[in-house]
């Protein structure tokens, strides 16, 4: 019996104009956008490759180890799945410096110079956005007359004269409509995947297809939710025209009005000046470091950092105060540190006896720097989270009250372009910085002659630990997406139950 009902509904739906229009418009939008997005991705990838090469060259031009300040730069590759959900992939900086005097975070990252930031004036689009707008609309259009229409035409009464449970009718309608909606979703996705695989620059791995599967599953839940919303409206109203009007209103409110309205009403802009005391604290720690540094210079036989001295390079005389200026001073990201790089082509013969002492000094200087960084990080990390992560999470939480927000969050998690996915990259960079520091400690590079002078052997950059970043496992993506998907599922179940109750109690 159920099969008969499903078949009837399916045939009813498949032969309609709306089905054809649904397939056509989804295909058109998805394919057009895939081509554009693919091109955009390729451009970003080219920019990334160019930048990686440039940085590689730049580092090799440095002759002393201390010269790696500002030259050891890690670039964030564009995420191929950003085509499906752009998330934060384009927004967050993609160029980060690795240096022992600060812990790199995503707020210290910058953008490649090749991008034209003015183009951010135009909103960017991704495939999930197309689905979010179009599929929800289609789901409502399939649903609005499912019950109200049959009631109007009187066919509902006819069906109910047969000994069929009302639940079956609802279920049959639901299954057939979902099958119909699945067609445009799958065909368009298939086409876009074919387009992606034909591109030479785009390399999708096996687990990427699993992630895309996750996105499809989430899309299904999302579409089903909107279908059920439409069905609910259809069950509650007597006339199809009223149902149609209400559906459209609900769509406008949920997709268009709510997300923008709520985030305009609630201020979620990061406020860096709320944490200015933390910044001052960090500054104090560094000033203390500076005093320590000067005390060392005063009490030791060492004579201070390099200065030009006749023919070659020598060292400043004892008693001459020498201080560095902080090279980075950014209250908005609570960044404050000293960056120093030294280069001596040739050390004067009269300064040669001082070299071991100076080596000692730099050993001390760098050790203290790293300790200070660790100390400041303890206060900087929570403060950065309070400034940036908390408002961002609040905003996302508020958006979760609309199905679109849930859908966006879940697909972002699948694609790995969400906040967690981006943070994965920056934690890898942080681990890499640790590895570089450990390498410098191991090889005693901080207190080596090559730290500041290039006359007896230059820095060997090829022995440096290599940076590599892999996107997190699919399992982790799934774990991040699961809460939102479960919420979507729960909403689905609740709505279905509500519709059932309404429909069973309603008079035909």
């Amino acid at each position: 019996m159920l099969m008969t009902l499903i078949r009837r509904e399916l045939l009813d739906n498949l032969m309609t104009f709306r089905f054809a229009a649904a397939v056509f418009i989804t295909l058109l939008l998805v394919v057009a956008n895939t081509i554009v997005l693919l091109k955009d991705y390729e451009q970003r990838l080219t920019a990334y490759n160019k930048a990686v090469n440039e940085s590689h060259q730049e580092l090799r031009e440095e002759k002393t180890y201390s010269g790696y300040a500002g030259a050891l730069i890690i670039h964030r590759p564009p995420n191929p799945l950003s085509i499906f959900n752009l998330g934060l992939d384009k927004q967050v900086g993609n160029k980060i410096e690795v240096y022992h005097a600060f812990i790199p975070t995503m707020w210290d990252a910058e953008k490649h110079g090749a991008d034209n930031p003015f183009l951010n004036l135009f909103t960017s689009i991704d495939i999930v956005l197309v689905f979010q707008g179009v599929l929800s609309l289609l789901a409502l259009i399939f649903a609005y007359d499912a019950l109200a229409g049959e009631r109007e035409r009187g066919t509902l009464r006819l069906v109910l004269t047969h000994p069929i449970q009302r639940g079956y009718i609802l279920f049959a309608k639901y299954i057939s409509a979902m099958l119909c909606l699945l067609v445009p979703l799958l065909i368009s996705l298939l086409l876009s995947i074919i387009l992606l695989t034909t591109s030479t620059t785009m390399s999708l791995r096996a687990d990427d297809f699993l992630r895309i599967g996750g996105i499809v599953l989430t899309s299904l839940l999302y579409v089903s939710l909107f279908y059920l919303i439409g069905l609910c409206i259809s069950a509650m109203t007597r006339r199809t025209s009223t149902a149609l009007m209400l559906c459209m209103f609900v769509w406008g409110v949920l997709v268009l009005v709510y997300p923008n309205l709520i985030l305009t009403a609630v201020d979620i802009v990061p406020q860096p000046n709320t944490q200015i005391s933390v910044y001052n604290q960090i500054k104090q720690m560094w000033e203390e470091w500076d005093r320590e540094n000067k005390r060392f210079l005063r009490n030791d036989a060492v004579l201070g950092p390099l200065s030009r001295n006749g023919e070659g390079w020598g060292f400043r005389l004892k008693g001459v105060e020498y201080s560095f200026a902080p090279s980075e001073d950014k209250p908005s990201t609570l960044l404050y540190f000293y960056q120093t790089s030294f280069y001596a082509g040739k050390i004067g013969a009269e300064s040669e006896p001082q070299v071991p002492l100076v080596q000692d000094y730099y050993g001390f200087y760098n050790r203290e720097t790293i300790n200070t960084v660790q100390r400041t990080w303890l206060v900087r990390k929570p403060a950065l989270e309070a400034i940036y992560i908390q408002p961002a999470n609040l905003g996302r939480m508020l958006l979760r009250f609309s199905p679109g927000g849930l859908y966006d969050a879940a697909t972002e998690a699948w694609a790995g372009t969400d906040l967690d996915g981006i943070q994965d990259f920056f934690s890898t960079v942080q681990r890499y910085r640790r590895a570089v520091v450990d390498y410098f400690y191991d090889k005693k590079i901080f207190e080596s002659r090559q730290w500041f002078a290039a006359d007896k052997g230059t820095a060997d950059w090829d022995a440096l630990p290599q940076f590599s970043f892999h996107r997190s496992d699919t399992g982790i993506n799934a774990k991040r997406a699961l809460p939102d998907m479960l919420l979507l599922l729960t909403m689905n179940v609740i709505l279905f139950t509500v519709i059932m109750l309404i429909f069973i109690k309603s008079e035909v």
């Binding site: 709306r18 229009a21 939008l29 057009a32 956008n33 554009v36 091109k39 955009d40 451009q43 920019a47 160019k50 934060l88 967050v92 900086g93 995503m106 707020w107 953008k111 490649h112 110079g113 090749a114 991008d115 034209n116 930031p117 003015f118 183009l119 951010n120 004036l121 135009f122 689009i125 197309v130 707008g133 179009v134 609309l137 259009i141 609005y144 007359d145 025209s241 009223t242 149609l244 009007m245 459209m248 209103f249 406008g252 268009l256 009005v257 997300p259 923008n260 309205l261 985030l263 305009t264 009403a265 201020d267 802009v269 990061p270 030009r308 990201t333 940036y388 961002a392 958006l399 981006i422």
Partner: protein, 474 residues
């Protein structure tokens, strides 16, 4: 005809959609007003503080000497926030609001860290703000441009999708046409009826919005601002009539109102939501992105040339006319090249944006967005105006410095070099001050084309609706 219009309005006033529309528009407009009231005073305060600081710097330089003014130039320039910010946000978070004045670069120092070669100030065009600090969700702000562009257009479709198909389904269309009314009268009656029924809740919401904003004593709207608001309101009506005409056209062609709504919505989604961003992406991918380094390489050999060209003067400490003149030329040329290079880069980027804007003009939503931005004094055009204002002022100040120097008989009239410029302090009042301005007539000129295009859209759709309705069989 008025009879039909009246009937339409009465019909709509009692309907559910009218009530929902009113509530929706009111909620949006009130949020908009509250947000503006909360943020605008802060914005103005920030601007005034910055301008005062910049002005103080100029005063300090002028008090020092003419040479100091010539070398250090004015303070930074700030974009004046528009009082009509609530009409269109215009990508405020992306566009920079400052043009900085670069400190004179130090070219060479001696062993004791004394400056021996120091250039003169130049303008530095800032990049767009990289939004890479904010990791929150990206949504559009609820401003008038959003409310009109997205919501009002959707409402227009909502009011018209069943204009003919609904009546045909009910059979009342046949009844109406049985009377001796020409069809175009019916069409225009319907058109006006729908337009008025949408205008009523919109006007109400706008009134509440403006009432909230104008009664608060923190925000002041001048007569000119009210004029601009009037224009924006008319633009909203023009834009709405475009969608009303579209709704009537589709409704006349299609038998069922559900199908008509579906076609309308999909058209709307395509033209209003997707087209602007997709076309912008396509347009911006035409021109290849050039990296900072590539630009740098183009420029660097030129800079080397300068050092060669003035080599014989730069390292001499003689104070004769020729040496000083050589140094002065080196400094000014350096500053000019710096500025020109920056300008070229920013022009290149602007042209990319311009192309994207021109192509997205196919979408009426973008046209409206640009028009509202133009009249509200925000957005990209305004940014370019600000840059232009700054450039004009920079020229003016340089001329002023040259003229004042010429008036001093003790000076050698070699600008940019300490020994060659007047060292007399000048009264700060006599120095021209920068003022960022907006004017309406200029906005009209830039907007004319877009306005024409939008009107054309309306006319084409309206005549399309007429043709469709004339041919329709009842």
């Amino acid at each position: 005809m008025w009879h039909i219009t009246k009937r339409e309005i009465y019909d709509n006033l009692n309907s559910l959609r009218f009530a929902l529309t009113t509530v929706l528009l009111l909620a949006l407009m009130v949020t908009n007003a509250v947000k503006h009231l909360r943020e605008h005073p802060k914005r103005v305060q920030r601007y005034q503080d910055a301008v005062t600081e910049s002005s103080d710097r100029l005063t300090a330089h002028a008090d020092g000497s003419l040479y100091k003014l010539a070398q250090y130039g004015p303070g930074n320039f700030y974009k004046k926030p528009s009082p009509l910010h609530f009409c269109a946000n215009g990508g405020e978070s992306i566009l920079p609001d400052t043009i900085t004045v670069r400190e004179p670069p130090v070219f060479a120092t001696d062993a004791e860290n004394n400056v021996i070669l120091q250039g003169v100030w130049s303008l530095s065009y800032p990049d767009a703000n990289l939004q890479n600090k904010n990791v929150g969700p990206n949504v559009s702000q609820v401003d008038w441009a959003f409310i009109i562009g997205y919501i009002l257009s959707l409402i227009a479709l909502w009011f018209t999708f069943d204009a003919f198909s609904g009546e045909r389904e009910q059979g009342t269309l046949r009844l109406m046409l049985a009377n001796s009314i020409p069809r175009h009268t019916v069409l225009i009656g319907k058109f006006l009826g729908a337009l008025f029924s949408i205008s009523i809740p919109f006007a109400l919401a706008v009134l509440v919005n403006l009432l909230l904003i104008s009664t608060a004593n923190t925000v002041h709207l001048t007569a000119e601002a009210w004029g601009r608001l009037g224009i924006i309101f008319c633009l909203a009506l023009l834009y709405t009539s475009l969608f009303v005409a579209l709704g009537l056209l589709v409704s006349a062609r299609v038998q069922q109102s559900a199908v008509s709504l579906m076609i309308l919505l999909l058209t709307w989604v395509t033209f209003v939501v997707f087209m602007p961003s997709t076309l912008a992406s396509i347009a911006s991918s035409f021109s290849p992105a050039t990296s900072f380094d590539e630009f740098w390489k183009q420029r660097n050999p030129v800079k080397e040339d300068l050092w060669d060209k003035y080599d014989e003067w730069l390292w001499s400490s003689k104070l004769d006319d020729k040496t000083l003149r050589g140094k002065s030329e080196f400094y000014t040329e350096n500053a000019e090249r710096d500025e020109r290079w920056h300008e070229e880069r920013s022009k290149y980027r602007s042209s990319q944006v311009y192309r994207a804007r021109a192509i997205t003009g196919i979408s009426p939503a973008t046209l409206l967005q640009h028009l509202i931005e133009g009249f509200a004094g925000t957005g990209f055009e305004r940014h370019l105006q600000f840059v232009e204002n700054t450039q004009r002022y920079a020229r003016q100040l340089r001329e002023f410095v040259a003229d004042t120097d010429r008036a001093d008989p003790e000076s050698l009239h070699i600008l940019g070099v300490r020994e060659g410029t007047s060292k007399k302090p000048i009264s700060p009042e006599s120095v021209p001050r920068f003022e960022d301005t907006l004017n309406l007539s200029r906005d009209f000129n830039t907007a004319a084309m877009e306005l024409l295009l939008l009107t054309l859209f309306v006319l084409v759709l309206l005549s399309g609706a007429y043709l469709a309705f004339v041919r329709v069989e009842v």
